[in-house]
Homo-oligomer: 317 residues x 2
């Protein structure tokens, strides 16, 4: 890995990948349309990267950006899981067709390695917890999961057909610096607007595993360094999981709010496609020596701390 | 099911679906771009159907064709499995984006049921034979399998998100009248050109299950009639499987050719993505009372008989 392209490199997780690559002395091309990313997120690395403002649906820009690149982190994605039913075609275009475009640009430029963030949502609502990578053939419950599953399949077919080495990472939800969507974000935003009452989607009993963003990035680099199959599939999640209500309690506490009244919308799912229980078997990545540095409560606290210092993300820019 | 749209209705399997629907007295709209389909295949039904010559990538034509339709057989697909590496984007567009277009047109027209032919290739190279529908989470080995897996995921997400009832059928290879690609076709064509020598891809030991086209159509209708879940997934395959060399022997015998010399290209796979062993667990569809009417050798003989009477398909039209 010498010259690396990071799609979505100005986004939440992508920008941490960029920081890591720069710290390792790699030549980095950041490819981002800045639709949800922020150039501020590249402040640490700005003078050490090449930035291309373009969309992954722009095939010629993609192909051009991949000259001399030897590895791709394809972090660009439509990640608005909760509103996935509003724009099903947009999810397909951005997460599936976009991934095909990246793979085709790689093929044209003879780029032979790619890391791809998939999602624990591809397991649908599994019967086995923690869920292993070879769980029974899943049934999709969300457009988001379906769009990422399709991306996984494409990577695997490119590995078989064109000799591309692929790293597929099934992520749990991620938190930390530069985080701008998900339940901690939603709770923070709602409490800023109304500090006495908080609406919680579902019954608050949904069980979810989370990872701190720097832990997830470390896990990806660990796998890429130490796993050398043609197709490498890793669950990236914490040993633990938490329910939604205790997350809300931590957010309240970090904001110094007591006696906030929780109002539940009810039901075991917060939205269509919300899995009531996401807890992934992370033994494969742990067997390579990786461990999360933060517990889930610590990750939540760090996230709230960052949101407090970066109130602008609530409004966007 | 009153008014039914059949995409790919002028194709090999699609036209048999149309014949069946007409025999049941349904109102039928055939939607086909005639890229691989033939209007001749609709000769039996021509005066009883509405034919729309259009592509599934034409979203407005699709939406318009679905007025008052209450069920869709989405049979249109890019089915050239063997050459799947030549045009990866075409497979994605025709099998995945096309399926998304069909689902969106259904959503716009409030069509609440769809049957979708997927493929046993979505299992990749499974360890379990016969392979059950809940086999371990597969790894894709072909662009074709990946494109159909993506279609499955979309159907499942539409079932969860929009209340569409979906029937997903994982097909083995299909043979019979109107068959125009696959190994029996290839052997027939090659033997017409050279009746003393036959090239066989791979080592001829690949094990494959097959179904006669009218059996596969009967299986689909059995499932749609008797299974009433939101998401219905069935393997459609024969109890038996055969190796490739005995298939070649039957084709030779049906053509009255003896002492044809078989030349093997070698290796356990005929092409990238060719699974050395496809044999699906068909217990779910059999539990609904379905049985194949023809053995695999009988299906091969019927297919060769049809090819002998319809030599034009060798050249196309």
């Amino acid at each position: 890995m010498k010259k690396v392209l990071v799609t979505g490199g100005a986004g939440f997780i992508g920008s941490h990948v960029v920081d890591k690559l720069v710290s390792l002395g790699k030549e980095v091309v950041v490819y981002d349309n800045l639709s949800t990313g922020h150039s501020d997120y590249l402040a640490n690395s700005a003078d050490k990267i090449k930035f291309v403002k373009a969309d992954i649906l722009d095939k010629s820009a993609l192909a051009k950006s991949m000259e001399e690149v030897d590895f791709v982190f394809h972090m660009a994605a439509h990640a608005d899981v909760k509103n996935n039913l509003n724009e099903p075609e947009k999810l397909l275009q951005q997460n599936t067709v976009g991934t095909s475009n990246v793979l085709e640009a790689m093929r044209m430029n003879d780029v032979k390695g790619i890391a791809f963030p998939s999602t624990g949502s591809v397991y649908g609502e599994p019967d086995i917890h923690p869920t292993p990578a070879d769980a029974p053939f899943p049934v999709q419950t969300s457009m988001y999961g379906a769009s990422k599953l399709a991306g996984e399949g494409l990577l695997q077919a490119y590995a078989a057909g064109y000799g591309v080495q692929v790293f597929i990472f099934r992520f749990v939800s991620t938190m930390g610096e530069r985080y701008s969507h998900g339940c901690v974000f939603d709770f923070f935003k709602k409490l800023k607007e109304n500090p006495v009452q908080l609406e919680i989607l579902g019954d608050g009993r949904q069980k979810k595993s989370y990872l701190y963003v720097k832990d997830i990035v470390d896990a990806m680099f660990t796998a890429i360094e130490k796993s050398n199959n043609s197709i490498n599939i890793f669950n990236l999640g914490h040993d633990d999981y938490v329910e939604v209500t205790p997350i809300a309690e931590i957010v309240c506490s970090e904001l110094g709010l007591s006696s906030v009244k929780f109002i539940y919308t009810g039901g075991s799912r917060g939205w269509v496609g919300d899995s009531p229980f996401i807890h992934l078997d992370n033994s494969a990545i742990k067997s390579l020596g990786w461990q999360p540095s933060l517990s889930i409560p610590e990750a939540i606290k760090k996230t709230v701390g960052w949101l407090k210092e970066n109130g602008w993300v609530i409004k966007g820019r």
